[in-house]
């Protein structure tokens, strides 16, 4: 079984996320009328495989598996899946899985690109408790933002159906839109708190004497993302921004995060020390 690596486990997990995505399309077409547990169980099965993959990777490097883009991306998806499995215990929010599984599948496929997972050197590039805290909290934050985007997608779908008097809005078993609005807001807030803790921890990480902190592309990008989410929260909580615009903002911010996360990481000397000697 030695040939069956953590990547294979993750590949299986992504395949099950894919299966869940296909099943979600059927749920959508059926109008979310039956509270079945199939999708939840599929995501639970994928999560178990996903966890095994991460644990194996962690043991193989004797460190929290957040050392390269593959591991970081896998961690983001894992935290989103974990958050969903907790939220999905509430029957009314179980259908969030139908919106989360395409996101998890997309992140999983992206993570499997070989360039993201170069072989480790004799020792991990990053070590230390503070580094683990920095990486883990930020990746958990991304997971919360991802699940928030899924909840926002669910909100917009249901709101559209209610506005345009689609019967499925009433006949479906989706939760009330006000609850989805609350869930989205709380996920973004939780993500923002974790993101802040993670960024703050990053400030105190040891770095090379000549490494510039505030000119590093990833630091600038992270500060920008922090401001984006701060603006979203302030507009929502203090300025009573409309829930529809907030939902669009949450989705747009997460898509932007996903699209730029890889690029800024590659450009960052702080996060790619081997490539930027």
């Amino acid at each position: 079984m030695a040939w069956f690596t953590d990547r294979h486990f993750f590949l299986l997990a992504v395949a099950v996320y894919g299966l869940s995505t296909v099943y979600s399309v059927f749920l959508w077409r059926k109008g979310f009328r039956k509270d079945d547990h199939v999708n939840y169980l599929l995501l639970l099965a994928a999560f178990v495989l996903h966890t095994v993959a991460m644990v194996r990777r962690g043991f193989s490097i004797n460190h929290c598996p957040v050392n390269n883009l593959f591991e970081a991306t896998v961690f983001i998806a894992w935290s989103a899946a974990a958050a969903y499995l907790v939220i999905g215990l509430l029957p009314k929010l179980r259908f969030l899985g139908a919106f989360a599984s395409p996101v998890l599948f997309a992140i999983g496929v992206f993570a499997l690109m070989p360039e993201l997972d170069p072989p480790h050197g004799p020792t991990p590039q990053f070590t230390g408790a503070l580094t683990s805290l920095h990486a883990a909290t930020i990746l958990l934050a991304y997971g919360a933002f991802g699940l928030g985007a899924a909840a926002a997608g669910m909100f917009l779908t249901e709101q559209h159906d209610l506005k345009f008097h689609k019967l499925r809005a009433v006949l479906s078993l989706l939760p009330p839109i006000q609850r989805l609005e609350i869930v989205t807001g709380r996920l973004v807030l939780a993500g923002f708190i974790l993101f802040t803790i993670g960024l703050e921890a990053g400030r105190y990480l040891p770095r090379a004497a000549d490494a510039s902190y505030w000119s590093d592309p990833k630091v600038i990008w992270s500060a920008f993302m922090w401001l984006v989410y701060l603006a979203l929260l302030v507009s929502r909580l203090a300025l009573a921004q409309s829930s529809r615009r907030f939902a669009y903002g949450v989705i747009a911010a997460f898509i932007f995060l996903l699209l730029t996360f890889w690029g800024t990481n590659l450009l960052s000397p702080l996060h790619q020390p081997l490539h930027h000697p």
Partner: protein, 375 residues
């Protein structure tokens, strides 16, 4: 011993005929006693607005049984036709109804296995006027309890009724026959539950005190809506309705001032023009800090300009929209009938097989109020 049923329902007869045969609740024990004197040791009388039925267990041939039960019904209705202090579940005037001159073909008579199938269908709400409604199950339980309490049930009816209650529960759990709202008022409540996190603490404004708006407000109140504000051109009517619903009445011209607090509006005035349009609602929504607002317009002509639905966080539904929801649920329930009937057929078959397996004893027919067999 076979279970038979004789009766009439909204399917077979008009209300004018049904009311002649209705049993006042206080008179049912006496009627059951009369049935026992006729040789029907086990009997249950179900008398509701939509049906009057006698379920009996007998060893006689069905034809003879039905003839006897028909005569009993005729005699009973003549006796009960005299004014008396009996209470009815539907109408207080039941006791003063006209005496029937004849019993026509409106009476249906069913012997096993159809009688058991009928009992199960009644328990499941499949024979009800509102398909799948649950009130009938409560009425059936009450009728059975009354008969049991007075010692008019035995092993056969106990088993049949207990099984009917069990089947009703099974059908409710495993099919969608009772799912959804099939009335405009309950569709409105369901809609509100799709918008608001909870109906607790929601304030409802009723503009114009019509019958449907009253039912809708009542349904919202029963689901936890905090308060009802009523605005009607007739302040007396508004005050009466508000009093009934535990709310408060406001002058008709002041309803807009309540918008800051309220979450749901039910409008049913007889105004010939829109009483609420986009220009009027836009500043009100700002004052409400864009909280969701459900507008239910059940007036014809409509009270609310459809253009308000384009405003953020405003959800406008008119009478046709609500009726469409109710109709769709009804269609769903109708689609479930075949599944329910298949379950019922299976359960009746099992019940009859159990009966056939049981050895006949000399005490059969005398086991009144025997403990119901485990189902």
């Amino acid at each position: 011993m076979n279970v038979v049923v004789i009766g009439l329902s909204h399917h077979s007869s008009p209300v004018e005929l049904r009311e002649r045969f209705a049993f006042a609740e206080t008179k049912i024990p006496e009627a059951l006693k009369s049935l026992r004197n006729l040789g029907f040791a086990e009997a249950v009388i179900l008398s509701t607005c939509n049906r009057v039925e006698i379920y009996a267990a007998t060893t006689q041939e069905p034809a003879a049984t039905f003839a006897e039960l028909k005569q009993f019904l005729a005699r009973w209705s003549e006796t009960a036709g005299k004014p008396e202090a009996g209470s009815s579940r539907c109408d207080d005037r039941t006791a003063q109804r006209a005496v029937p001159t004849n019993i026509g073909n409106e009476l249906y008579t069913l012997a096993e296995p159809q009688s058991l199938q009928h009992l199960f269908k009644v328990a499941c709400g499949l024979d009800s006027m509102v398909l799948g409604e649950t009130e009938i199950l409560g009425q059936l339980k009450q009728a059975y309890a009354l008969a049991q309490q007075h010692g008019h049930t035995g092993a056969r009816l106990n088993k049949a009724f207990q099984r009917a209650f069990h089947v009703a529960k099974h059908v409710r759990t495993h099919t969608s026959i009772q799912r959804g709202s099939v009335s405009v008022a309950s569709a409105a409540v369901e809609l509100a539950e799709k918008i608001f996190n909870s109906l607790q603490d929601r304030e409802v404004l009723v503009i114009g005190a019509g019958d449907t708006s009253e039912k809708t407000a009542r349904a919202l109140r029963s689901r936890g809506a905090r308060s009802i504000i009523v605005a009607s051109r007739s302040h007396e009517r508004a005050a009466a309705l508000a009093n009934e619903l535990g709310g408060r009445a406001v002058p008709f011209d002041d309803w807009a001032a309540e918008f800051e607090k309220i979450d749901i509006v039910i409008s049913s005035t007889s105004a010939p023009h829109h009483i609420l349009d986009r220009a009027k609602l836009e500043p009100l929504m700002k004052a409400r800090k864009q909280r969701p607002l459900l507008l239910i317009d059940i007036a014809v002509p409509r009270d609310i300009d459809p253009a308000v639905n384009f405003l953020e966080n405003v959800y406008l539904y008119n009478i046709d929209d609500l009726q469409a929801i109710a109709d769709d649920y009804l269609k769903q329930r109708q689609d479930e009938i075949a599944r329910c009937e298949a379950i019922i057929a299976e359960k009746v078959k099992t019940l009859l097989e159990t009966k056939n397996l049981q050895p006949r004893t000399s005490t059969e027919g005398h086991g009144l109020n025997a403990a119901p067999a485990k189902l």
